[in-house]
């Protein structure tokens, strides 16, 4: 009779032990934990796990690589949490926008100081990509892959409206206006889609109109974020919004790909991933690509992409070997065949890379700029969005909103 009761007691005790005692796991001496956000089911992840890592482990038999795939947003949050619990990986692939934050956490290794052969390694990679890892004079990562945004236009819509592909900012604003209105079914159509109001969305306009977000040293914003050119960019953008020619950032709007694929949005500025998305979802839509229209500041798009960086807690020697391998011509060319734009100069020159679908983006990368590499950027980004929204709502003039924003930016940059 006692047996089931005793069993229950034992079970309860075991459960308590499991809950209270944290799992202790022994790690092998040379296992590199590599966290990344290549989607688990993607070709990139396949190449990483089936081609790159086996090759690296063959070249370095004493190192094992344990690659863990995370969702993009989840990886960012997980790093923040792992810092306080001291459970960071050795190496990570980080969105370039995250690097300044992680640097401020004090967990990244300044590579230029600690790696003897840093200069020769960095010299083989694109300067623009390396600029994304340079924070307050030191470099905390290597460029891993890069991207930028170019103009996508719906060929049929432009032809029907008799609009040429815009090459200047003036032509662009005129084209956006002309392409807006109603289609044959009486549905509203927009000349331009912009899916957000953050720096990723607005910076190409600010820069191409000749404006800027901060000074070159990234220490102050007054006179830059509220310069006549920046204000002109914001004013042009907002007037297109209020005329019903530009949309996409509202909660109720048609999603970007759907709107472009179904002929509701005539043009947009987007990255290389959009090609695959359109091929998959809207294979019949006829579209072309062009450079970001040039203004006073030239044709300046925004730089995206990822860096590879190591944490303080890493086995630095092994981690550095892996980082050099991932930025080598071999690894970069392999990743290029599955859509990652390389940053290795040697890989970029290769025939394989020049023939990829992303070839039109290679030109944009030459003139594209990185968003400020400061830790306060995510806060600044949010303030920019709030400020531009106030202009759209008619609460402030563009000049007033940008003047106020300059004060906020200056404060955040001093933090």
């Amino acid at each position: 009779m006692l047996k089931p009761k005793r069993f229950l007691l034992v079970l309860c005790l075991i459960m308590s032990v499991v809950i209270i005692v944290p799992a202790v796991h022994a790690s092998e001496p040379v296992t590199l934990n590599f966290w990344h956000h290549y989607s688990a089911q993607s070709k990139e992840n396949e190449t990483l796990t089936n081609v790159l890592i086996p090759q690296f482990e063959k070249e370095n038999p004493d190192i094992k690589v344990n690659a863990v795939s995370h969702e993009w947003a989840e990886l960012h949050d997980k790093i923040l949490i792992s810092v306080s619990t001291n459970q960071l990986p050795d190496v990570m692939r980080a969105d370039i926008a995250w690097l300044p934050e992680f640097q401020q956490l004090g967990v990244l290794v300044p590579l230029n100081k600690e790696m003897a052969d840093f200069d020769s390694v960095a010299g083989q990679l694109l300067d623009s990509a390396m600029s994304t890892a340079k924070i307050a004079g030191d470099t905390y990562g290597l460029g891993l892959n890069t991207n930028s945004k170019i103009l996508f236009y719906n060929t049929d819509m432009l032809n029907a409206a008799g609009v040429n592909v815009p090459t200047t900012t003036d032509e662009w604003a005129a084209a956006v206006r002309k392409l807006s209105g109603n289609n044959a079914q009486g549905q509203q159509v927009w000349g331009w889609n912009e899916p957000g109001l953050s720096g990723w969305n607005l910076a190409p306009f600010i820069w191409s109109f000749g404006g800027s977000l901060t000074n070159d040293e990234q220490t102050a914003a007054s006179g830059h974020i509220n310069s006549a050119e920046t204000v002109n960019a914001i004013e042009t953008f907002v007037s297109l919004v209020s005329e019903g020619a530009l949309t996409g950032f509202n909660s109720g709007d048609i999603p970007m790909t759907d709107g472009f694929g179904t002929g509701r949005y005539a043009m947009m500025l987007e990255g290389p991933w959009k090609i695959a998305e359109l091929t998959g979802a809207y294979p019949d839509v006829a579209y072309g690509t062009a450079m970001m229209p040039a203004g006073k500041g030239g044709s300046v798009s925004v730089l995206g992409g990822e860096d590879i960086a190591m944490f303080n807690s890493a086995n630095k020697e092994a981690a550095w070997k892996f980082m050099k391998f991932m930025t080598s011509e071999f690894a970069q060319t392999q990743m290029a065949t599955v859509g990652q734009i390389p940053v290795s100069k040697a890989a970029l020159d290769s025939q394989t890379v020049q023939e990829q679908e992303f070839a039109p983006f290679l030109e944009a990368i030459q003139t594209a700029k990185a968003r400020p590499t400061v830790a306060a950027w995510s806060k600044m980004d949010n303030e920019l969005m709030v400020a531009v929204n106030a202009v759209i709502q008619g609460e402030k003039s563009a000049q007033q909103a940008m003047d106020d924003l300059a004060v906020v930016f200056d404060g955040l940059l001093k933090e």
């Binding site: 459960m15 209270i20 949050d77």
Partner: protein
């Protein structure tokens, strides 16, 4: 069972241990730790070593304009959805309680939204209320009552209204079940006596039904108010706080502050401000019900 013997006590302790352990490790400890965090500067630059800043985070919260926007949003959400779903739930419960047939069918029908996933329901609502959504299609193309699409989700109050409609729609079933159980406890004798005293159905409802289920009303009121202040999924998925945080609520704002900007200290303080507000609200509700008790 010999609970007074030592052996019995040991057994009792052992059986309680898992529950207590879960409670202590996963509820009490995080709460105390969070309270500690709320007095520290815990941002990106102080993730490893957090200096004590006293009430700094609480001052930052109370002087933040966005905090007051999201606080008002949460308050309005609670003040609208809680009475809304309680009244509708009670109404449905009274109706179902008075029918002889198909009681189970109606109960199931009204309860279905409750067991529907928040994520799916939110996404469906988003599709319905999109600028190019089902409702606008109905209004402009089928009924022709509006010439242009209405931008339901793109401004503060209309965006919040969509979330509130979802909250009420989803909560009616829960209230119906709770009130139905309470209604079935009310003795038939009371109604009989009231009828003999000349009370019509409405007067019976006011003087017999409502006083009899007061305990249940208080329970639902407190539970739903806590739930109203904790609204997260629907806001996150329907408007995402857009435009410019004007439709954010306390929890979506807390999430943004901690995970998008790394301000864990601010978020911790915000959570205790929210707990305080809920405490005051619950105390008021208890007092209100008690004073009615005395009448």
């Amino acid at each position: 069972m010999e609970t007074k013997s030592i052996k019995g006590k040991i057994q009792l302790g052992a059986l309680l241990l898992p529950g207590l352990a879960i409670f202590l490790v996963f509820t009490m400890y995080p709460m105390l730790r969070l309270f500690w965090v709320s007095f520290r500067e815990w941002t990106l630059s102080s993730m490893v070593n957090q200096p004590f800043i006293g009430l700094g985070n609480y001052i930052a919260v109370s002087t933040d304009r966005t905090f007051w926007t999201v606080f008002v949003n949460s308050l309005v959400y609670t003040l609208v959805t809680v009475p809304g779903q309680m009244m509708l739930g009670l109404f449905v419960a009274v109706l179902i309680n008075n029918i002889k047939r198909l009681q189970v069918t109606f109960r199931v029908v009204y309860y279905l939204p409750v067991i529907t996933s928040w994520v799916i329901a939110s996404l469906v609502f988003r599709y319905v209320f999109n600028t190019e959504g089902l409702l606008n299609y109905l209004l402009t193309r089928v009924l022709h009552v509006s010439g242009a699409n209405i931008r339901w989700l793109d401004s503060r109050w209309s965006g919040l209204t969509v979330a509130m409609v979802l909250g009420i729609w989803k909560g009616v079933g829960w209230n119906m079940v709770i009130f139905l159980a309470a209604l079935q406890q009310v003795s038939a004798d009371l109604y009989e006596a009231a009828e003999m005293d000349g009370c019509n159905r409405w007067k019976q409802f006011i003087h017999v039904t409502l006083p009899s289920i007061r305990g249940t009303i208080l329970f639902a009121l407190v539970m739903l108010s806590i739930g109203g202040f904790s609204v997260f999924t629907s806001i996150k998925l329907i408007t995402g706080g857009k435009p410019a945080h004007l439709t954010d609520t306390l929890l979506t704002w807390m999430y943004f502050k901690s995970f998008s900007t790394g301000d864990f200290g601010y978020a911790a303080a915000l959570s205790f401000v929210m707990a305080l507000a809920l405490g005051i609200l619950s105390a008021l509700q208890f007092r209100l019900m008690k004073s009615q008790d005395a009448v």
